[in-house]
């Protein structure tokens, strides 16, 4: 884990309101694992005050990329960055996805900006010799950011592209036609979608890891601000920042919006 300033190499828009920020950070590039995140300081002003957590989207040599949606103050400031600006990064943070283990097929399910960790995850899975199928859902086609995803299966709520319905619906109908043996599910996206995914995984008795989002202050376990309820064990809560953001779907209760 390092805390340092990284030079911004570029910022590009890849879909409606969706941007990719690239910066040079050897420390992160050479140590980051899929599912881990960075806590970025969007400026050195006092408002917004806190860092903002972002999954790592892609890594190329010393260049690290995050993909984000403009949803408020912090992401708006990020979207205004220019090549050459510096950004303070803290990371890599959190527990990566479990890509080892004895499964042969990986089912990646992303809703909206849940695609963030998927390119780097798919790459590592393939390196580890796994078969990867990627399923991506969005409200409308213009919100889809499919770059850097190999042959993604697409679902849109409005049917403007691909399967008309939810991404989980798409996964189910796909598996009916192409049953996958010893598969593992990896999912990232809105809470409602994650619940659907873990239900699906349970009923089809597939191992499943979810990447959670939620408010964070420190990202490193010192504020106790990011609890998620555990399903068992003597402790009631786990910390998303240090025990997650990736969790075995059977070990946590997802919070209702």
């Amino acid at each position: 884990m390092t805390l340092c300033d990284a030079e911004i190499i570029g910022l590009r828009q890849v879909a409606q309101g969706v941007h990719v920020l690239s910066f040079r950070s050897p420390e992160v590039a050479y140590s980051i694992l899929p599912g881990q995140f960075l806590n970025l300081r969007v400026h050195d002003g006092l408002d917004p005050l806190l860092r903002r957590p972002f999954s790592v989207y892609r890594v190329e040599k010393e260049i690290v990329e995050v993909i984000f949606n403009v949803v408020g103050k912090g992401t708006a400031i990020l979207a205004g960055k220019k090549k050459g600006d510096m950004v303070s990064i803290l990371g890599p943070l959190g527990v990566p996805f479990g890509i080892g283990g004895r499964f042969t097929n990986a089912i990646l399910i992303a809703g909206g900006l849940g695609i963030a960790p998927m390119p780097i995850l798919a790459e590592h899975l393939r390196k580890a010799g796994k078969q990867v199928e990627i399923f991506v859902g969005a409200r409308t086609s213009d919100q889809l950011a499919l770059q850097h995803l190999k042959a993604p299966h697409v679902a849109t709520d409005d049917g403007s592209r691909g399967f008309h319905g939810t991404v989980v619906g798409l996964v189910e109908s796909y598996l009916k036609e192409h049953p996958l043996t010893d598969a593992k599910v990896f999912a990232c996206g809105p809470t409602r979608m994650l619940s659907a995914v873990s239900n699906f995984a349970r009923t089809s008795s597939l191992p499943c890891e979810l990447s959670l989002e939620g408010e964070m202050a420190c990202g490193i376990g010192i504020c106790q601000g990011c609890p998620v309820e555990r399903t068992n064990g003597e402790r009631r809560y786990a910390l998303v920042c240090t025990e997650g953001p990736t969790f075995d779907s059977t070990t946590i209760h997802l919070r209702e919006g």
Binding site: M1, L3, R41, L46, D47, P48, L49, L50, R51, S88, G214, E215, M216, A217, C218, I220, G221, I222, C223, Q224, G225, C226, P227, V228, E229, R235, R236, Y237, T242, R255, G257
Partner: protein, 313 residues
């Protein structure tokens, strides 16, 4: 440059500490921060039994600040002694254990147990805790209860006893006077300010307990006024706390009367803020031609003919 100071036979390397609940138990950031440049570490509040803490959401950002509702989540004093204290003992800094409780007896039990152990240099008492006997009203808003806790604990330890006051009272000076009278060696001013944040669309409070504790730069002016009020009303060492991000902020607290400062929320942005601040105060003092950081304490250049409690509008 003299940077250190002494509190009841304990010497501290410098006047910059990290605030309770904002630095964990010190081990989480072992690779990021050289704590040997800190005056000391205030641990996360410890209670007798472990506490799960409040349900999520526990934090929300506010203008230049943040709201928190952690619920004193902590591992409990026994696990602390087993799992955390051994590591803390290895650190080249002072360890001040912060204690929280829901009854006067619990405060005594926790301190009594800890006092027997090596490697603890002082106690900071968090009185901003719900008093179960009083239906959840905070001890810290009741002057007699706060004094009672202080005298009970004073009888149990020879180590520095620091009472951490809440700002959510009309006359914080009276509380400082009461705990001094009851035997406290110092006061920490201040804990978080009661605040609230709401999501207009969902109509829900942004922290699960509806209200929470406000911290960060937004409250710095309030904290400076509270420290100044205490310094004007009682002669007792003060740990100034509230919104400190930079060495200059810290100097402001020293000038209004704090003998030392604590860094809280700033640790979430950069856990080594305390180290930066400690170094920054030193170079500031050097620029000003001082030989001892202590010369800044209470050195405010102000007319004395205005009372803190007067109106100003």
């Amino acid at each position: 440059m003299k940077t250190g100071f002494t509190l009841r036979n304990v010497q501290f390397r410098n006047r910059v500490f990290v605030a309770s609940g904002t630095f964990g138990y010190g081990d989480e950031v072992r690779n990021l921060v050289d704590v040997s440049h800190l005056g000391g570490i205030m641990t996360k509040s410890l209670s007798w039994k472990p506490r799960d803490g409040n349900p999520p959401p526990r934090i929300a950002e506010t203008p230049s600040g943040m709201l928190n509702s952690i619920g004193l989540a902590n591992i409990g004093v026994h696990a602390f002694i087993e799992k955390k204290l051994p590591y803390l003992r290895t650190l080249d800094t002072r360890i001040v254990v912060n204690i929280a409780a829901s009854s006067v007896q619990e405060y005594c039990d926790v301190l009594g147990l800890l006092d027997e152990h090596e490697g603890i240099h002082g106690f900071e008492i968090n009185v901003s805790c719900p008093n179960v006997k009083e239906g959840g009203l905070s001890f810290g808003t009741d002057c007699d209860r706060t004094a009672e806790i202080t005298s009970r604990l004073r009888a149990l330890t020879e180590k520095p006893l620091i009472i951490k006051l809440t700002p959510n009272v009309t006359h914080i000076g009276q509380f400082a006077a009461a705990v001094k009278e009851a035997g406290a060696d110092a006061v920490s001013v201040m804990n978080t300010v009661i605040g609230m944040a709401v999501d207009a669309r969902t109509r829900k409070p942004k922290v699960s307990t509806v209200t929470g504790g406000l911290s960060g730069p937004a409250i710095k002016p309030i904290a400076l006024a509270k420290v100044y009020e205490v310094a004007q009303s009682v002669d007792i060492p003060i740990f100034g706390i509230g919104g400190i991000m930079t060495a200059e902020d810290a100097v402001e607290f020293l000038l209004v009367g704090a003998s030392a400062v604590q860094i809280g929320t700033a640790n979430f942005i950069d856990p080594s803020t305390g180290v930066t601040v400690a170094k920054g105060i030193e170079s500031f003092a050097r620029q000003q031609g001082l030989n001892d950081i202590g010369e800044l304490v209470g050195a405010l250049n102000a007319r004395k003919d205005f009372s803190v409690l007067q109106s100003w509008l």
